[in-house]
């Protein structure tokens, strides 16, 4: 050793970075797998109402979404501008909600069914008529936990 030191600086070999890509790829795959690209195409436009007392939705996997609002610009030519209900990826009538809820419940396992939450994403200009109809259908379908989607605001 002493001899070596005398000889001068021993160059420290460059740290091998060959495993760095593997590490990074691992992180990458983790992100790719965990991010659910639930990109449901929206056929209705909505601006959520604002509220101050909003709560976070706890379990997203237990949430089913119902969108209510006027058809988007491309669909407006065909469907007009009256508010529509979107379930999955098409327009539906209020009475079809029962079926929708049943299929959503089927996707969950037995224990989680009670905790299923229906998130109502409705445009703030909608009239309550259509929303009341939806609520009635939800009651009939026994999906009683609902969440009126609203964005957080600081109040008036």
């Amino acid at each position: 050793m002493a001899v070596m030191n005398k000889k001068g600086k021993k160059s420290v070999g460059a740290i091998s970075t060959s495993s760095l890509p593997d590490v990074i790829f691992m992180i990458l795959f983790f992100f790719m797998v965990t991010t659910t690209m639930r990109e449901q195409e929206l056929f209705v436009r909505f601006r959520l109402p604002e509220a101050t007392e909003v709560q976070k939705l706890e379990k997203k996997s237990l949430a089913s979404y119902i969108y209510i609002g006027p058809p988007t610009a491309q669909m407006a030519a065909k469907f007009g501008t009256a508010p529509r209900i979107q379930l999955n990826d098409s327009y539906h009538q209020a009475f079809e909600i029962g079926e929708f809820i049943a299929s959503e419940k089927d996707k969950l396992n037995e224990a989680d069914r009670v905790a299923m939450t229906v998130v109502l994403k409705a445009d703030n200009m909608t009239r309550m008529g259509i929303i009341t109809e939806v609520k009635q259908e939800l009651r009939k379908a026994n999906a009683l936990k609902i969440s009126y989607a609203a964005s957080k605001s600081l109040g008036y």
């Binding site: 991010t35 604002e50 509220a51 007392e53 909003v54 009239r127 309550m128 009341t132 009651r139 009126y148």
Partner: protein
Amino acid sequence: MAKREVQEINAGSMADIAFLLLIFFLVATTMNVDTGLQRVLPPFSDQTQNQEVEVKKRNLLLVFVNKFDDIQVAGERMDITQVKDKAKEFILNAANSPDLPEKVDTEIDLIGSYPVSQGVISLQNDRGTSYNKYIMVQNELTRAFNEVRNEVSLQKFGRSFAELDEKEREAITKAVPLKISEAEPKNIGGK
């Protein structure tokens, strides 16, 4: 030039590429949190008309939003800014007034005996009410309950409701239950 050794491919930039992909995914994934006002609907029953649970008049605060988005609380017309205070007064009934809800002493874990208000806020709307206003009113009512819970929590535990742990929160929730009834739809004043 007969035999050239195949050089090792430089893998140094591989990490950069992977990083690039990683950053793309990090940026592209929207972690949007769904927020909203959570409610529990009453179970459906066919004979809705006769099924109305009898509630003493003093225990009921009627909030009605008509199709012009006017708000009426307990018979008087109100601005949205007044709703919360009215609701709070109703929930608390601090003076034990005979016109405001009665209280029943209930044994609750951690708190002990607490006079739980029997009041129910009934929110009614017209078919023509705008969703925006409806949510605003819902929000105000929720705010009233949250403020009352906060007050009770400060009084009992010396901390705000948000700082309580699970059990204490449950106790407070029992002491001040969120009783907002979203009544059967009514169509008052025609279409």
